[in-house]
């Protein structure tokens, strides 16, 4: 029994290591493990170039952004007790992306992570305000519908802003809007890992509060938790994590939606800390693998990662819907 559990707990880390290795080795040019090892030790040759310049930062960014999206998705799904609640469905990702495109179009000089965070928080506030009705507790489904609407609107605006860009930049922006990890540098790695780790640590410190909220607002209030303030804090943390990921990887669709359920299935984790860690690992796994396959599978063409996560995520969303329908949740 214990042996089985340990084996299962080791599965996700092993998959992650394998995905990262695959991401480093496989591509339009395949670099074998021996060459990578040689490059890592000697700092010379193809392996070293791949590690330090081309694929190293790309894989590290994908791992970080995927983990951030995974935690954000798990956080929202726990908070709203609904498997459909995730920053991409709720329109937060496209809000962050709109802010980045707007900043680019109007030539605003500011760190993109801050811009994306501002955009994500603004659209979260908008979703909150627009779905609020005096005297009623907002049902999560209303919030999801309103979020979908805000998402439609912000993506239309971003599309419009892209037409204002010069055509060479517009092509780049289009790629990014799909969710792309092309040409990432160590700077991007720092921008996702450092603030992401800080936010995750903060979340870990307050994890018992999240556990209380998961029991439901009434029970949490009975336990002496300031429900409204605590929820706002967790929503802000989730939005910030998602926005950090959007700033370095674009609004990759459905990673946040799929991560927590996949993580829970892979690890069998029950506790809140375990589920969040599993969500982070699953998010990193999905994004890294998607990016690697999208850029490597077709000779001569590198597709953005978002194309693959979209192809994976849309059927997942449909399957999830049919499950929810059978369960009577919708």
């Amino acid at each position: 029994m214990t042996g089985g559990m340990t084996a299962r707990a080791a599965l996700l880390p092993l998959l992650l290591i394998a995905a990262a290795m695959l991401g480093l080795a496989w591509g339009q040019i395949t670099v074998g493990p021996a060459a990578l090892w040689h490059g890592a030790v000697s700092g010379e040759g193809m392996g070293a170039a791949m590690l330090s310049t081309f694929r190293g930062p790309r894989v590290a960014t994908a791992l970080g952004a995927g983990a951030a999206l995974g935690i954000a998705g798990g956080l929202f799904q726990t908070l709203f007790r609904n498997p459909l609640a995730s920053p991409d469905i709720l329109g937060f990702d496209s809000g962050a992306a709109l802010a980045v495109v707007a900043a680019t179009a109007f030539g605003l000089i500011a760190p993109m992570s801050l811009v994306a965070a501002a955009g994500g928080l603004a659209s979260a506030a908008l979703v909150g305000v627009a779905s609020y009705r005096r005297g009623h507790a907002t049902p999560p489904l209303t919030m999801i519908l309103v979020g979908l609407g805000i998402g439609f609107m912000t993506s239309a605006l971003a599309t419009f802003l892209m037409t204002l860009l010069p055509s060479n930049e517009a092509g780049e922006a289009q790629r990014w809007m799909t969710g792309s990890l092309a040409a990432r540098s160590w700077d991007h790695v720092a921008r996702i890992w450092i603030p992401g780790a800080l936010l995750a640590a903060a979340l870990l410190v307050r994890i018992r509060l999240l556990g209380a909220l998961e029991l439901g607002s009434d029970l949490a209030a009975g336990l002496g938790v300031g429900v409204a303030a605590a929820r706002r804090g967790f929503v802000a943390a989730g939005v910030l994590l998602a926005a950090l990921a959007v700033a370095v990887a674009g609004p990759v669709p459905f990673v946040a939606l799929m991560s927590a359920p996949l993580g829970a299935r892979l690890t069998g984790a029950r506790g809140l800390v375990g589920r969040m860690l599993a969500a982070a690992g699953a998010g990193a796994l999905i994004l890294t693998l998607s990016d690697t396959i999208a850029r490597s599978a077709l000779t001569g063409t590198e597709l953005p990662a978002g194309v693959l996560t979209g192809l994976l995520g849309a059927p997942y969303l449909l399957w999830r819907l049919s499950r929810e329908m059978e369960g009577g949740g919708l």
Partner: protein, 328 residues
């Protein structure tokens, strides 16, 4: 009846305004000149005949068709959030257009445009099948999310295909947000016919759609076969949506906004609603296009962006009034 006349008047007014307003000021006398004595060497005449007039006609065809499609969809689903754009039916039509153009090479524009109809029909069947709509129990939540998923799936496919072929970001841009700028080069006459056929079909089955809203059992008692009526309704949706996409590309939110407006004017009478939705749809799309041409002149805001900016808040307003958990 007064309301229908009012809607027709609105369409006429918007048409006149759209014909007159633009970067190049053109008065009614120029139009008369052009109609009576077309002069191919006169730049004004050529601009009118090849650019502005087709654009106005395209807006009326596409807008009217989407208004009808939205009214039919909202009628058979009893879901105020049903819209060909949000349900992915536009995306299906546009995807068929792109895929056909890419696979078959440079075919005749008109023949490629015909692909929008099977595309729209397939997408409509898919989204309804997935959301359980054909059993007549489609809650707004299911249908909207299934549409969002279908949209995302097709968008990923299109992005991949466009990046693979590397050629035209323009195709992609056309696909993502509808535009009426190239209306002059689209098969307007054929699409007007298709839209009209769809609208007539919708008018013909309107009483049966209304009967379905009392529940399938009752409708059967009235001698109506629900499956057949739904099939014909989806055919009407495919004809109108396909025509609109072939003319203007995918335009979201128009089919969402127009039917409630029409219902407000004529009440819950589906035939009158369809007629009013056609007129108001044309007027609204034309208005959006004209505004889009003027707000940032000489640059243009695509009409698909304009409808999204106006229709987004309408969507949210309707969504927050629903009680999704309770309704489904």
């Amino acid at each position: 009846m007064k309301a229908v006349l009012g809607a027709a008047l609105a369409l006429l007014l918007v048409t006149a305004a759209s014909l007159a307003l633009g970067v190049r000021p053109i008065g009614p006398s120029d139009y008369l000149d052009m109609m009576l004595a077309f002069d191919p060497t006169n730049a004004d005449h050529v601009a009118l005949a090849t650019v502005r007039l087709p654009r106005v006609l395209g807006a009326i065809i596409a807008g009217g068709a989407l208004g009808v499609a939205g009214a039919v969809l909202q009628g058979i689903t009893r879901n105020p959030l049903a819209d060909p754009g949000l349900l992915g039916i536009n995306a299906g039509a546009a995807f068929a257009l792109l895929a056909g153009g890419a696979l078959l090479g440079d075919l005749d524009q008109t023949r490629v445009a015909m692909l929008t109809f099977p595309g729209a029909a397939l997408a409509a069947l898919t989204v309804f099948g997935l959301a359980g709509g054909l059993r007549g129990d489609t809650g707004p939540m299911r249908l909207t999310l299934a549409g969002a998923a279908l949209n995302a799936l097709l968008l990923s496919l299109v992005t991949g295909a466009v990046l693979l072929r590397r050629e035209s970001l323009d195709m992609m841009r056309f696909w993502v947000a509808g535009s009426l700028a190239p209306a002059g080069s689209r098969p307007l006459a054929e699409m007007a016919l298709a839209a009209a056929a769809g609208a007539i079909l919708a008018l013909a089955i309107a009483p049966r759609i209304e009967a379905l809203s009392f529940g399938h059992a009752l409708a059967r008692g009235l001698g109506i076969r629900p499956g057949r009526t739904q099939g014909m309704a989806l055919a009407a949706v495919a004809l109108t949506t396909g025509a609109a996409v072939a003319v203007a590309g995918p335009i979201a939110f128009l089919g969402l906004m127009v039917p409630p407006l029409a219902r407000r004017l004529v009440g819950h009478r589906l035939r009158m609603e369809l007629v009013t939705a056609f007129l108001l749809g044309g007027a609204t799309l034309l208005l959006c296009d004209t505004l889009g041409r003027l707000v940032l002149a000489p640059a243009e805001v695509r009409v698909g962006v304009m409808t999204a900016v106006i229709g987004g808040p309408v969507f949210i307003w309707i969504a927050r009034g629903l009680r999704p958990g309770a309704q489904a």
